[in-house]
C-alpha cells in the first residue's frame, strides 16, 4: 500500500510555539524560591500523517514535553495550537482540559499501563464511555473494529490483560488510544520494553495506522535505529532545549550539533 504523499505542505496538526516549563521550588524563610527549568523555547510543527521523533537522554525534558502536550502538566510559557484550536496559551491563560484536546498517549510499559482487573474490551472502550457513550452495541462494535485494526482477534475483548504477551498488550494500549479518534498519538518509549522481534511488529503497526488514518505521531525514544526506521522528522533535546531538528535522514546521517553527534556515535549499529 503506497504511503500518502507526506511532502505536500499542509496546515500543521500541531504547532508548539516557544513552550517553556519551570518547576517552582519552595520559598524558605529569607530565601527566594528558585525554580528548575525543564524546557526552554521549544517550538516545532507536525503535519498530518507525519511522525516526529523526539530524541534525548534521560532528564532532557522529552517526557515533560509529552505530558504538557497531552495536558497532564501545565506549561509555564508558550502556545500550543492544534489545527484551528488553541490548546494552550499561557499568556492568555488558556489551558484546554486533556479530554478536549483529542490527543492520546501510548505508554512504555505494557505491563503496568493496563488495569489488570478490567477486561480488554472495557479497557479499550473506556475513552468512549468517559465521553458519554452508553450504547453497548455501538461500544462493542467500535471495540471489535479497533482490535481488528491493531491485529488482535475480536474475542480478545472478553479476556483479561494478563492473558496477553507484551507485544499484544502494547497493541491493546494502541487500540485504547485510537478509539476516541485522536488527531495526534504520543508514544513515549512505546517499544523499548519489547523484544526486538515484537518491536518490529509494533513499529510496522504504527506505520500502518499512520498510513490508514493519516494520524500524526509524536514518537519519543532514545533508540536511534528505531527513530531512523519510523520517523519523518526529528527534534533533539538537550537540557530542555532543541539543539537540532530536521528530517530524520539528515539529522542522523549528518548531525551538525556536537551533542547529536555524541548521541549517535554512542549507539552501536549494525551496518548493512
Amino acid at each position: 500500500m503506497p504511503a500518502p504523499a507526506m511532502t505536500i505542505p499542509s496546515a500543521p496538526v500541531l504547532r508548539a510555539e516557544r513552550i517553556g516549563k519551570t518547576y517552582q521550588g519552595r520559598s524558605r524563610l529569607f530565601a527566594q524560591a528558585t525554580g528548575v527549568t525543564a524546557l526552554t523555547d521549544v517550538s516545532f510543527e507536525v503535519g498530518p500523517g507525519e511522525i516526529l521523533g523526539i530524541v534525548g537522554e534521560s532528564g532532557c525534558g522529552k517526557s515533560t514535553l509529552a505530558r504538557i502536550i497531552v495536558g497532564l502538566e501545565q506549561a509555564s510559557a508558550g502556545r500550543l495550537v492544534a489545527g484551528d484550536a488553541t490548546l494552550v496559551d499561557v499568556a492568555a491563560g488558556i489551558f484546554l482540559p486533556p479530554a478536549a484536546r483529542r490527543i492520546q498517549m501510548v505508554f512504555q510499559d505494557p505491563y503496568s499501563s493496563l488495569n489488570p482487573r478490567m477486561k480488554v474490551g472495557d479497557v479499550v472502550s473506556e475513552g468512549l464511555r468517559i465521553a458519554g457513550e452508553t450504547d453497548r452495541r455501538l461500544l462493542a462494535d467500535r471495540v471489535a473494529g479497533m482490535l481488528r485494526l491493531v491485529g488482535l482477534p475480536a474475542e480478545a475483548a472478553s479476556r483479561y490483560p494478563f492473558q496477553f504477551s507484551g507485544g499484544q498488550r502494547q497493541r491493546i494500549g494502541i487500540a485504547r488510544a485510537l478509539i476516541t479518534e485522536p488527531r495526534i498519538l504520543i508514544a513515549d518509549e512505546a517499544v523499548s520494553a519489547l523484544d526486538v522481534s515484537v518491536q518490529m511488529q509494533i513499529l510496522n503497526l504504527l506505520l500502518d495506522i499512520r498510513d490508514r488514518l493519516g494520524i500524526a505521531v509524536l514518537f519519543i525514544s532514545h533508540d536511534i535505529g528505531v527513530i531512523e526506521y519510523l520517523c519523518d522528522k526529528v527534534i533533539v533535546l538537550a537540557q530542555g532545549k532543541i539543539v537540532e531538528s530536521g528530517s530524520a535522514d539528515a539529522v542522523i546521517s549528518k548531525p551538525s550539533h556536537v551533542y547529536t553527534k555524541k548521541l549517535i556515535d554512542a549507539v552501536p549499529r549494525i551496518q548493512d
Binding site: 537522554e57 522481534s197 532514545h222
Partner: protein, 328 residues
C-alpha cells in the same frame, strides 16, 4: 581431566547443561536444554536472546542464586575447576565474589541506600578476611580508581543517591572486583543507562578485562551492542543455544535462521514505502515446548525433519556452530 589444555584455558565450561524448575507436586519444567559453551581467560562472551530464552537463569545458576530445591541442574557447569552442578553449598559460597562475581541491571536496587560506597565495598573485602582496616581502606581507594572515578577519595564517603546511574554501576563493578574474581557476570548492566553512559561502562569492562585478565559473561538482548564489544556470542532461543561463534562473524554471517531473523529485526534506515519484516508468531512458552527445533514454527526454512527428534550442534563455519538441519 586428561584434556588439560582445554581445562587450563577455560574459566567457564558449560557442557550439556540443562536446568529444571521444580514446579511442585513432583513436576518439573525444563527451562534450559543441553546448553554447551565455554569462556576462555580474558574473554568477553555475550549470551543474547529475547525474554524467556533462558539467559538470566543461566547467569543465576552460575551463582546458584536460587532458593533451595527450586532448581535442578543436569550436565556439567565448571568454573575454575569446580563443577557447580554437584558442588556443596559451602563450596559455592566460597566461590561467590572470589571466583565468580555478578553485576545487575539496576544498580540503584542492588546498592544499600543507607551505606556509603566505602562501607559497601569494604563489606565485600571483609567477607573474605585476611586484611587489616588500613589495608582494606587502601584497597577501596584502589578499586575506585580502577573503575575510573576521578576522585576516589571523595566518592568513597558518598551515599548511592549522590551518585548518577553510571557512577552507581561503576561502584557496583568495584564491589564485584573486590576479591579479584576470574569471571564477572554482567546481566544487562547498561539497559537502564543512557547510551553515552553505556559506552563508558562497556569501555571500562574491556579495560578491566585487559588489565586483570578478567573473563566476562555478558547477558544482553542488544545484538548491535554485543557485536561491537564481545569476542564471542551465543544466541539463545527457548532455552536452547542456537548458534555460537566469534561476534563479528556471527552477526555479519549468521548460519542459523533464527540468528538471521533476529538481526533482520533490528530497525535501521528505511526506504520510503518499504518495511522490514519482524518474526511472525511468538516465542514458545516453557510449558509448551515440543520436539525438534524450537524455532521451526516461525522459521522460513522449516522442513519436515525439523519437527522431530533432537537436533545437535554442528559446525557451520570454521569457528561457528549452529543447531540447525538446514543452516544458511
Amino acid at each position: 581431566m586428561h584434556d588439560t589444555s582445554r581445562i587450563d584455558d577455560a574459566v567457564l565450561e558449560a557442557d550439556q547443561l540443562s536446568l529444571f524448575l521444580r514446579a511442585g507436586r513432583g513436576t518439573e519444567l525444563k527451562i534450559v536444554d543441553s546448553v554447551s559453551f565455554s569462556i576462555a581467560r580474558g574473554e568477553f562472551y555475550a549470551l543474547v536472546g529475547e525474554s524467556g530464552s533462558g539467559k538470566t537463569v543461566i547467569a543465576r545458576s552460575l551463582m546458584r542464586l536460587f532458593p533451595p530445591n527450586t532448581l535442578r541442574m543436569e550436565g556439567r557447569l565448571v568454573v575454575d575447576g569446580v563443577d557447580l552442578t554437584t558442588a556443596p553449598a559451602s563450596r559455592v559460597q566460597r566461590m561467590r565474589g572470589r571466583s565468580i562475581s555478578m553485576i545487575f541491571q539496576e544498580p540503584m536496587t542492588s546498592l544499600n541506600p543507607l551505606m556509603t560506597v566505602e562501607r559497601q565495598i569494604d563489606e565485600a573485602i571483609a567477607v573474605v578476611g585476611g586484611m587489616g582496616r588500613r589495608e582494606r581502606r587502601e584497597r577501596v581507594v584502589e578499586l575506585l580508581a580502577d573503575v575510573q572515578f576521578a576522585n576516589p577519595g571523595s566518592v568513597r564517603s558518598m551515599y548511592p543517591h549522590e551518585l548518577s546511574g553510571g557512577m552507581r554501576q561503576r561502584a557496583m563493578i568495584a564491589m564485584a572486583l573486590a576479591n579479584n574474581p576470574s569471571l564477572l557476570i554482567a546481566d544487562e548492566p547498561t539497559t537502564a543507562l543512557d547510551v553515552t553512559i553505556q559506552e563508558e561502562i562497556l569501555q571500562l569492562l574491556l579495560r578491566l578485562r585487559d588489565q586483570h585478565g578478567l573473563s566476562i559473561l555478558f547477558i544482553s538482548h542488544d545484538l548491535s551492542l554485543v557485536r561491537r564489544f564481545a569476542d564471542r556470542i551465543g544466541v539463545l532461543y527457548g532455552g536452547v543455544l542456537m548458534e555460537t561463534g566469534p561476534a563479528h562473524e556471527l552477526i555479519d554471517h549468521p548460519t542459523h535462521p533464527y540468528s538471521r531473523a533476529l538481526i533482520d529485526c533490528i530497525p535501521r534506515r528505511r526506504e520510503a514505502g518499504k518495511r522490514q519484516a519482524g518474526i511472525d508468531g511468538l516465542v514458545p512458552g516453557v510449558a509448551d515446548w515440543f520436539d525438534g527445533c524450537r524455532f521451526a514454527p516461525r522459521c522460513p526454512r522449516m522442513a519436515e525433519d525439523c519437527r522431530h527428534g533432537r537436533i545437535e550442534m554442528t559446525p557451520t563455519q570454521p569457528a561457528q556452530v549452529a543447531r540447525c538441519l538446514h543452516p544458511l
